[in-house]
Symmetry: C2
Subunit: 421 residues, 2 copies
Amino acid sequence: MNTIDIKSYMQSVGQEARAASRLVAKADTAAKNRALTAMAQAIRRDEALLLAANAKDLDNARAKGLEASMIDRLTLSAKGVATMAEGLLQIAALADPVGEISGLNYRPSGIQVGKMRVPLGVIGIIYEARPNVTADAAGLCLKAGNAAILRGGSEAIHSNQAIAACVKEGLRSAGLPESAVQVIETTDRAAVGELITMKDFVDVIVPRGGKGLIERIANEARIPVIKHLDGVCHVYIDDQADFDKAIRIADNAKTQRYGTCNTMETLLIHEGIVEKILPALSKIYFDKGVELRGDAAARGIVAQIKEATEQDWYEEYLAPILSIRVVDGLDQAIDHITKYGSQHTDAIVTENYTHARRFLREVDSSSVMVNTTTRFADGFEYGLGAEIGISTDKIHARGPVGLEGLTSQKFIVLGDGQLRQ
Amino acid sequence: MNTIDIKSYMQSVGQEARAASRLVAKADTAAKNRALTAMAQAIRRDEALLLAANAKDLDNARAKGLEASMIDRLTLSAKGVATMAEGLLQIAALADPVGEISGLNYRPSGIQVGKMRVPLGVIGIIYEARPNVTADAAGLCLKAGNAAILRGGSEAIHSNQAIAACVKEGLRSAGLPESAVQVIETTDRAAVGELITMKDFVDVIVPRGGKGLIERIANEARIPVIKHLDGVCHVYIDDQADFDKAIRIADNAKTQRYGTCNTMETLLIHEGIVEKILPALSKIYFDKGVELRGDAAARGIVAQIKEATEQDWYEEYLAPILSIRVVDGLDQAIDHITKYGSQHTDAIVTENYTHARRFLREVDSSSVMVNTTTRFADGFEYGLGAEIGISTDKIHARGPVGLEGLTSQKFIVLGDGQLRQ
């Protein structure tokens, strides 16, 4: 398609999405759940088709010489197909957020005022290699009563189209409009430019992928963006921490998985406990092949720790590397997190009530934790059922974004003829 | 100031606001209330000073030949000064939203997950003539734990500076940083351009004023904007409406005040009741000097009704003018509101349970009402205590925006050493 074709193509996609969004907003819970269940069944039935489509994408990716990590994210296994179907059934099992009425109270005027949860309208989702996002995002947007426009990575186009066919079959079988979920058919980047500026047809954009993609979209979008940037997560071991809890949490937060956004990247240790705990912790990390980079105080205690540069405190390693800093107390720990952190997820390990209470209030991150691991920052672990992503923004949605983050609330007012005087 | 000076001036304003926001976010409720009370006292004490400063602005405005409506909005009376002080005391009396913890529940993993309400950070408010916004906005932002950067209209610069002096005195006397509320000192428009693009220092922009100002800011901002565009509000009189309620509500929604955004601009009447109710309603409107513009069906019943053009259905008159359309039922009424409305406030008058329930669910406006007047769409009437504006957006805040709309929520997680497996 040339640029003009793409513009008109995207405009028609937008118009269809807007029209469909009105119908799914009204759709009853049973119809949405029927569609989600049918999508899951179609995906299981078409496992061979999906894997064949994915193989085509993988061949092209290898031919293009894409890097291993990209190939890894792009790869769809039989287990991956089953997980996609399972995810859709889990979304069907979640309570329907649409229409929930809260805080309906009588006012002195005699009117009752409350809020009703409503869909956002049309959600534009822009993502990279992972094909499973196509099913997850479609399911979440539908359950929240929204229409979705999905723009996956060009390298996953065959996989995404195959999954989209199952999604549309599910919508059709439940009597819902197929255009409630549209997967962009062109791999032309101009389509993204259109998607993030079609104010009349798209209500919110959710980019998922590398920081580069997300920053570019956030800068160019003319529509609100729910975004996730870095995850520079901290654990602060207070001088009044329980020794064993501190060891277990600092270990789990770093080594349970290295590549995730909620993995600890910097460990802050109170000077009052560092001599006691750092040697034991370092041994655990070294045994697991984790490279440690510390400040002078840390290196004074464990010689094998390399020197940390100023840049290390800003770094999201997403790798078996950990920076370690010794602090003189809670204030210095909070100041460090405020200066170098990314407002994603930060934890304190302490038995001190006042320190815990202050950390919870004063650390301005999307998830703030006491005596547990940053790795818990996750939609499933939080009971949201599923997540479309984790927001490091403050507006609208913060932290893991599930069904509720894909909705809004309107005021409802019930009266018996009351008038404004 | 030249452009470079303005850039560096705004950057320093932003830096100070960011620093102050960290302190007011931590400030306890008592300190914030002391500051609000002291602001109110200073404003009452300085009534003469404020009126003198306002007189200077009014002289300049008249010299510039500004239109009467602008002069009216700019004018500060003794009563206006008292109302400003009263407003600040009312905000002091509101519950502190900061730190409120909700939905703290145990998860199967053993962790407790909930949400804590937190300030947004730095709020940029851009407004036009009304000087009272300076005190209202400063009070609301402070109570919600935010720093505020206020940019009032150049025509109100002396009034705003005088009010700002009282605000700063209140902050000082409560031991809070004066830079928690900063009023931009230059009237240069370039300052606005800086304010709405200083991503690092400003978290959200709230424009208040004419549609032109708000659209310009929404288009140029690089920061989330909580905005209010038109208020094309509807009342739909169903065929199963109570006759007397319908008359009273349709009268009040239009004639209680003409210039407000929640005033009804279009009246929709079911064909089954129109012959009975339109003559009586028209008499009320004509007696109050309201010009009526209707479709053919309406004009067929009341000859004095002028012809409505297609454009009339989109019109926010803000004047004693009302467009009237006859519809064949609930679906046509909802379709009309969906096509021509501004998603602000819409009401149905009916005794039919199913029609009321469908209207509440299917009309996608920030306030949806049954059997009462659109004029109730207001922060005070809703019990928010005060409002910084009414949002016609769907993201973050919708409808009247009070303290809660100036906050966000972070997740808090409490554990006893639980780990991710």
